[in-house]
C-alpha cells in the first residue's frame, strides 16, 4: 500500500517556465514533508521541507505548497533551469518516527 504517491513518472518543461511536481499521501498522521533532488549516480540531496502547521514554504526558486484537506503537496520551481533536470522525490514522516516514507519519484526534464 503506497502511502506516498507521485503519479507522474516524468515531466518535461521549457527552460524559464514554472515546473510543478505533485505528491499525494494517504496517511493523515503525516506531519512533515520533504522534497529531495537526485542526479544519476549520486545520492539524493535535501531541497525543502514543510511542516503540517504551514501551507507554504519558500526557499529561493523553490516553493512547497501543502493542502492538508486534499492530502496533496506540490513543489514549484520558478524559473526552471537546465540544472534542475533530475529525479525529484517526495517523502513524508510521522512525528517522533525517524523513518521517511518515499514516493516513487518524478523525472523532471528541462528543455532549452
Amino acid at each position: 500500500d503506497q502511502q506516498v504517491k507521485q503519479n507522474s513518472p516524468s515531466l518535461s518543461v521549457q527552460e524559464g517556465r514554472i515546473s510543478i511536481l505533485n505528491c499525494d499521501y494517504t496517511n493523515s498522521m503525516f506531519d512533515y514533508f520533504l522534497w529531495y533532488k537526485k542526479y544519476p549516480a549520486e545520492g539524493p540531496t535535501f531541497l525543502i521541507s514543510i511542516s503540517s502547521i504551514k501551507d507554504k514554504n519558500e526557499d529561493g526558486r523553490f516553493t512547497v505548497f501543502l493542502n492538508k484537506s486534499a492530502k496533496h503537496l506540490s513543489l514549484h520551481i520558478v524559473p526552471s533551469q537546465p540544472g534542475d533536470s533530475a529525479v525529484y522525490f517526495c517523502a513524508a514522516s510521522v512525528y517522533s518516527n525517524y523513518q521517511l516514507i518515499w514516493g516513487a519519484g518524478t523525472k523532471l526534464i528541462i528543455k532549452p
Partner: protein, 111 residues
C-alpha cells in the same frame, strides 16, 4: 556540512559472494539508514539504526544484515549475493530532525 561517505561507488560481485557495503558519517548523527533504489520503486528502506549496536528492520530486510559497532559507521552485508540484489544502495544519516543526509550511493551489479 554533513558528510556521508560510502566505501565504493561501483561494485561487481558474483552470485553467492558475501558483500560488505560500508557507510561513514562525520556529524555525530544518532540515526543511520540503508536504502536501495530501483527505477520506478523509489527508495525502499532495508535497515536502520538509532544507536550503536541497535538495528531495526525496514521494509525489505530479507537477504541483508547490518552492523553498527561505532556511532559513525553503519555496514550493510549481503550474506549471499543474488542477481535480484543488483541495485543502487544508498546510506543516509540524521540527527533529532527528520531530514536525512545521503551518501553518493553504491551501484552494485551481481553477476
Amino acid at each position: 556540512d554533513v558528510k556521508v561517505t560510502q566505501s565504493s561507488r561501483y561494485l561487481v560481485k558474483r552470485t553467492g559472494e558475501k558483500v560488505f557495503l560500508e557507510c561513514v558519517q562525520d556529524m555525530d548523527h544518532e540515526n543511520m539508514f540503508w536504502y536501495r533504489q530501483d527505477p520506478g520503486l523509489g527508495l525502499r528502506l532495508i535497515y536502520f539504526s538509532y544507536d550503536v549496536k541497535m538495528k531495526e528492520k525496514g521494509d525489505i530486510p530479507e537477504g541483508y544484515s547490518v552492523s553498527r559497532e561505532k556511532k559513525e559507521r553503519f555496514s550493510l552485508i549481503l550474506e549471499s549475493a543474488s542477481t535480484n540484489q543488483t541495485s543502487m544502495y544508498l546510506c543516509a544519516s540524521s540527527s533529532g530532525g527528520r531530514t536525512q543526509y545521503f551518501g553518493p550511493g553504491t551501484r552494485l551489479l551481481v553477476l
